[in-house]
Chain length 343, copies 2
């Protein structure tokens, strides 16, 4: 179905379907956005009703849907091909009489075409976000820190100037840093943290998430802690502290508040240093870039790291508001809106 | 209750109650052992029936029970005190008319006493194993690699010569290395693995366990893969390969067998190097020690690492057979049997 068959004036809803969250953004003159946590392996059957509910929240009238996804990496699927097919089946079932377009590196595809090209349409959400940002800021580094991952994308003359496309290529090029502001287990952020004047290794048990450190430090709002806590207990400073104490195999009878706060600070510092190293790597590749556009749940981490490296920091949230939290969903809606030729 | 009130001739069952496995060993003239996976946060209510079933498997007649535990660290409990209490409640409910003794650093305690001293009886299982081994091999390094953790314990003149007692102290002293032969997520074993001639960082998503690497390499039997697989799929070479491919955000359509095997080998190598570094640290502290006693599910890893460091390797399994897999359970049974004064 060529782009010109999309009816004029119909709103476009962009979707970014991940393994842990499903995000939507509807474009008219301003963005409206929605988001729902939906953990792929366990809550799979609920993708269709989740999409329908989120679409209603965005204004339930018929729409054109632009989709990007990372959910295909979920261990619910044996292959990315299977995952891409599942997501597109869900889109078709949720919106049977509406138009669906799938973002790929080479442009939007119809679902039948997309299904056969899992590496073209899977994990392309960062590319859409980069092209969207590149329309306004032609030369910059985009740093998007979500719940789970960090994208560090050089944008040159409005287009992503990247060294890899697939997830493994991007991990190796440093453009995908698999660390996020919420879901990353603390033991994957730092090998050890200060304890009683020494360094204590962390237990690889997912006893605490990096979100617990930011919650403890007042940098993350409990409402943004959108996944289950590791111990199933509340999203509060106190309970976050218990989880952090357990990460060094201790408990709150063994550690006082100051010891727990020191662990939280060390984790935040370690993650900032890791993001800063990633930004520094891109600066070495693209020494002419001086602006960093930061976005995502962890934009405060990105801003801090980029400032240290001497970049001028622009928060995407200042330009597009809440939609910055769901930048790829907003991006695919915007990009599709701007590729349409009215009938 | 002083030791001499324990009736003569009654068999002693030793228990090592962990957060992921419950192990028992009954001592008469030879050990009989049993083990059951039981993941604390999710399967808690089943501890009592599990204990009863395992006791029946060990020969159902009345016994004296010697207990050691690490389950108190589980996130099912807010504090170690709560965890110790829960385990002792379960012992009392499972064996109401039988005698229970709890291993502590200062010797066996009755349950009421043990309850008030969580740091005395919690996570003391390594100490019992070391004292047991020390009765036969007076000077050695004990390397016990279980499903989840590694204990590296210098034994001098028959007693553990350690620098720490609590879990955090032992993490900091290097005597507890939080890496095991099965449950450790691969991203906590190595930061990156070879892929297409480069190094690819691993996704911290618990997509694969180190057990998948050993299963893939034929070093771990599927029957010993006693926990659920991360993706819920079978414990086979093929599916282990899919899980390892996902750990670099790839799938089996993107990677061939050789690429997957290279990932598995690199992970095994990284873990061996880590254990070897831990052994080397103890050798620096105790240069006179020349023998390493290796045990646990990962004794093959320990043997390899100790040999590299020039130690003479003794497999505990050669001395006590299958009981070496559950060394702390065997140890508490043996130690209690040997502290009893017949009436």
């Amino acid at each position: 179905m060529p782009p010109h068959t999309i009816p004029e004036g119909v709103p476009i809803v962009g979707w970014d379907i991940g393994g842990a969250n499903t995000k939507g953004a509807r474009i008219e003159t301003v963005f409206r956005t929605v988001s729902a946590p939906l953990e792929m392996p366990r809550e799979f059957p609920s993708l269709v009703p989740t999409l329908r509910r989120l679409a209603r929240e965005l204004g339930g009238d018929p729409a054109v849907h632009a989709v990007t996804m990372t959910a295909e990496l979920s261990q619910a699927f044996r292959t990315k091909r299977e995952g891409v097919g599942f997501v597109l089946d869900a889109m078709a079932e949720a919106f049977p009489s509406q138009t669906v377009r799938v973002y790929g590196f080479g442009g939007f595809r119809d679902p039948a075409e997309a299904r056969a090209m899992p590496l073209e349409v899977g994990a392309a959400n960062w590319h859409a976000a980069a092209r969207f940002v590149g329309r306004h800021t032609r030369d910059c580094i985009l740093v998007d820190i979500g719940t789970t991952t960090t994208d560090i994308i050089p944008i040159v003359s409005g287009e992503p100037a990247t060294a890899g496309r697939t997830d493994p290529e991007r991990l190796m090029s440093g453009e995908l840093v698999y660390t996020g502001a919420l879901r990353t287990p603390v033991e994957c952020v730092a090998a050890a943290v200060p304890l009683g004047g020494k360094l204590c290794p962390l237990a690889p048990e997912s006893f605490a998430l990096i979100g617990d450190a930011y919650l403890r430090l007042g940098l993350l709002d409990a409402r943004d802690y959108s996944v289950a806590t590791p111990d199933g207990r509340p999203r509060t400073r106190e309970y976050a502290g218990e989880r952090l104490a357990r990460a060094v195999c201790a408990d709150r009878e063994m550690l006082d508040d100051e010891a727990v706060d020191a662990i939280a600070r060390a984790l935040a510092e370690a993650q900032a240093a890791r993001v800063a190293a990633g930004i520094e790597l891109m600066r070495i590749r693209h020494p002419a870039l001086t602006v960093a556009v930061v976005t995502g749940l962890g934009d405060f981490i990105a801003a801090n790291a980029a400032q240290r490296s001497g970049f001028e920091v622009v928060r995407l949230a200042e330009r597009i508001g809440e939609a910055a939290r769901t930048a790829p969903a907003a991006a695919v809606a915007w990009l599709l809106a701007n590729t349409l030729t009215p009938v």
